[in-house]
Amino acid sequence: MALIVNELYHISNKTKFELGPISVTVEKGKSLAIIGENQSGKSLLAKILVGATKLSGGNIVLHGVRSDSRERKKAIRMMFQFSSHTLNPSLSVKKILEEPLIRNTSLSATERVFLIEQTLIQVGLLREHLHFYRHMLSDGQQQRIALARAIILSPKVLVADEPFATLDPSIRSQTINLILKLQDELGLSFIFISHNLGIVRHIADNVMVLDKGKAVEIGKTETIFRWPKHDVTKRLITSYQSLIPQQTLTD
């Protein structure tokens, strides 16, 4: 039971940016971190995985089934970088969380509200937050709503584009712990993009390093952090370690 990406390839019409071919496997309940410099195609890869952007070649196989884009949208859910932007300012939390249910399930109105309440509690919010609007929620709460929206359809894979970048340290650790907890409970595979290599080392099982649209290195987190092979990886790791000098690279 795993998400397998086969020779995924994308070429953008406008910028002629080429991504891939990328092949990677994410086991159930495992985390994959995607790191790389700016303009390396990380966000594009995330968008392709969730089906927001079409791929030009290759395929994505989920649980042994090559899934079409509609199925995939249900099973692979996304968290955006700025969670506050993903919440419609004129809709209450209830309506925001109801939308994926209306579009993808045949639940009745009461069942939907029940499920939304359950999900809110799961992400550490209260039932009362149903009636809140975006501007009444703090950054951390908005992040939780975004997370609730991502997990409400019980997806198999959660893709997050720099989910922690805009949060302050305490909320960041709260969110990380929450995601780790949910990953444990729901058996989610978690694919995330991050610039914070400390977090990557802390929670990722595997790491993929992207450079100019190519996956230059894929491997176990510890292996990559201890024995980086590619120049880009070395550069990223060195700059990270210059902040915490207790460990040196071993060749």
Partner: protein, 297 residues
């Protein structure tokens, strides 16, 4: 014993409520709003409130000055015109005609404008750009000029005026809606809706319309003041409502012939048009400020 609540009451104002709260705090907008309500109720309740019918001619009381003048009569509070018709009643019926036609104009052009504007905003590429440039060219011409041309083609009359001004106002609504929609389409919450599997119509209805409605109220009030001015201007030019129909602009034109003898016959309709437009503009401005205060937080 006074009632008290043990727990601090939780109050979650909806975006609309919040807009209303900050609108209420601005006294000028509130005065404008009260003025607007007064004018509208005067117009709507004309059959109940007006002392006489607007077309009754009192041959024994021609060009009577308002009641506070020594020559005036209490029977005709704001005097009479050259045909002996009660000016107050005529004013009330005239604002009714002017206001309701302006409202019709705004509602129709809003409906059409939003539909086309949304389509234009959600489309990409050459279709959108052709539509956009065409409309921008149209918007460079003043609405009154377009309206006069249309009336020139269709002939004079109140109904033709309404059509003409509707057609002239539609590009403005399209423009505003198109800009707003195409700006919002790049937002993450639209992208998230798309990932939820929403069709373009569902995106419009479920995600865009709640945000759009407030912007439309503001744009609607602006269009309303334009419509009132244009309708009375066409009435004044004798292109709109024809003689027996009381209409503010037409009344102004009728009073012009004997303006030196009966200045109140042009001052009062002019004042009514002025108050209507002023009230609507103040309300529109207040709404815009309130909306900005809400969304910029």
């Amino acid at each position: 014993m006074s009632r008290f609540s043990l727990y601090e009451e939780e109050f979650h104002p909806a975006p609309w409520r919040q807009t209303w709260h900050s609108f209420k705090e601005d006294h000028v907008s509130m005065i404008g709003f009260i003025l607007f309500l007064t004018m509208v109720s005067l117009a709507l309740l004309a059959p109940l409130l007006a002392p006489t019918s607007p077309s009754v001619q009192n041959t024994d009381a021609l060009i009577l000055p308002p009641s506070w003048d020594t020559a005036g009569s209490i029977n005709f509070i704001l005097g009479t015109d050259a045909l002996g018709r009660d000016v107050l009643s005529r004013l009330m019926y005239a604002s009714r005609v002017t206001f309701s036609s302006a409202l019709t104009v705004v509602l129709i052009s809003l409906l059409v404008g939003v539909t086309v504007g949304t389509l234009a905003g959600m489309l990409r590429g050459i279709r959108s750009s052709v539509l956009n440039h065409l409309l921008d060219a149209l918007m460079a011409i003043p609405t009154l000029l377009i309206a006069i041309i249309i009336v020139g083609i269709f002939g004079v009359g109140l109904l033709n005026t309404i059509w003409a001004i509707t057609l002239a106002l539609i590009p403005q609504f399209i423009h505003v809606t198109r800009n707003y929609v195409s700006e919002q389409m790049d937002n993450d919450y639209i992208r998230a809706s798309k990932l939820d599997g929403a069709t373009p119509f569902q995106i419009f209805y479920y995600s865009l319309l709640p945000n759009l409605s407030e912007m439309l109220v503001v744009q609607g009030t602006l269009a309303m003041s334009i419509a009132i001015i244009d309708i009375s201007a066409l009435g004044f030019l004798n292109l709109g409502a024809q003689s027996p129909t009381p209409e503010l602009g037409a009344m102004l034109a009728e009073g012009l012939d004997i303006a030196y003898i009966t200045p109140w016959n042009i001052i009062l309709p002019g004042l009514f048009i002025f108050l209507f437009v002023l009230a609507i503009n103040i309300v529109g401005d207040g709404l815009r400020a309130a909306l900005r205060a809400r969304t910029s937080r």
